[in-house]
Amino acid sequence: MLVRRLFLSAGLFLSLTFLFPAPVHADADMTQAKDVVAKLSKQAIEVMTSKGVPDADRVERFRGLFISSVDLPTISRFVLGRHWKTASPEQQQDFMKLFEDMLVYTWAVRFKEANDQIVVLVNGTKPDGDQGVIVDSSIVRQGQDPVPVLWRMRLTEGTFRILDLLIEGTSMIVTYREEYASVINQNGGDVNALLDVLRKKTVAMAQQQNAGQAKAN
């Protein structure tokens, strides 16, 4: 009798788990998401402020770190929005590459200037839909009010990756989407126009970065 009940409940349990894939909100998942944020911000600051490393290497190491922790394919599709569908596969590839450069040069400098003066503190986590977690953090700089930053994380291929950053109520990916849509629309819906300005901008940012480094050394 007891054995039968045990089997029954086990069967019920199994069928339930198959019917409803486990949401990612187990404590372990929350902790993992938190660790990704803590590790990324710590390593990024380390990579960008370490001494005696050639500048080009520094940015490339940061890029590696960045790519492994950010869900770039999903973000790229969201940011290009309705123009993703009309873009050719080559344009999509070009955009992803240029957008990656854009993010890398944008954040490499921010982490570099952060120095040791900055601490990213993870305050807590909360569920975000079925497959997501929001990590709540504060960026604390010497002598300034802490800035609240929310990291939207999503489980892809077994690890949590960053989907969006919300800084003082503004979403990074929404802002990019509106900026790029505006450029495309100003040019009569031509995605190539956006690719051109992004190409120019990222080249300029890379040069700026190198010039800044040369001055610092």
Partner: protein, 253 residues
């Protein structure tokens, strides 16, 4: 005039292209060509006069002096913040603003020292936010000459506040008109100095700063009205709830 208004309007995509239409409505900027002109005007003025002034102010005026001027200007804003706290039926915030004003005006020597900050953190508030909380929509995006990103709701709020603020009104009624102009210039320089790094970052990374600023402004205002960041940030106004910077940095991630 009518022709100028028509010329200032962007052409909406046809209803046959629903996705383009949705994108157009999301931007909420039917007067974009006109707004871009005002933006460019502001930008030229900024590059020629305002930004250099803010940079000199940051580089040549000692930190301590700037800090106390900021505290003083913030304290002068307290009556307006208080009225908005009350209009939003938020007794905790209203109480915090009132307490800060009394403590800082008295013990902080007319507000030049924000002596209350360590117990009662400052929060800002304005009539645009109050109207938003009351359910007034933002209306189309608007770039104001000198003042920058706005919308009819927020611009109306700024106008009413400029007229009704006792700190401007009382001296004006006594004939000291220059008081509000001097205050306006000081507030402007102070605000621009605070935003030097942020705006430089936008300039460095954006391929269309106009739409980046538009997006950031609209999202930020909306989040204030929805109260989202306030929920995430320890809510200002509760004594002792806001963690001190030093306490925070003790934590181990």
């Amino acid at each position: 005039m009518a022709a100028a208004m028509v010329a200032g309007c962007a052409e909406a995509p046809p209803a046959s292209d629903p996705e383009a239409r949705a994108e157009y409505e999301r931007a909420n900027d039917p007067m974009e060509p006109w707004n871009r002109n005002v933006y460019n005007f502001n930008d030229s003025l900024d590059k020629a006069i305002i930004k250099p002034a803010a940079e000199r102010y940051r580089d040549f005026v000692p930190d301590m002096v700037r800090e106390h001027l900021r505290d003083f200007l913030n304290n002068l804003r307290a009556p307006v913040i208080f009225v908005n706290d009350v209009l939003q039926a938020d007794p905790d915030k209203a109480y915090a603003t009132l307490g800060r004003f009394i403590i800082n005006t008295g013990f902080g020597i007319g507000g030049i020292i924000d002596i209350a900050a360590k117990d009662i953190p400052r929060h800002d508030n304005d009539l645009g936010e109050t109207l938003g909380i009351w359910g007034v929509g933002e209306g189309p995006y608007l770039v104001l000459p000198l003042l920058g990103p706005s919308n009819p709701r927020d611009a109306f709020g700024v106008g009413v506040e400029a007229y009704a603020d006792p700190v401007d009104r009382v001296p004006s009624n006594m004939g000291y008109y220059y008081v509000s102009y001097v205050r306006g210039v000081l507030v402007g320089v102070n605000r621009r100095t605070d935003n030097l790094d942020n705006l430089d970052e936008i300039e460095r990374t954006s391929v269309d700063p106009y739409s980046t600023v538009r997006s950031l402004y609209r999202q930020y205002r909306q989040s204030l009205i929805e109260g989202k960041p306030v929920l995430e940030k320890p809510r200002p106004g509760y004594v002792g709830e806001f963690p001190k910077t030093m306490e925070l940095s003790k934590g181990d991630n």
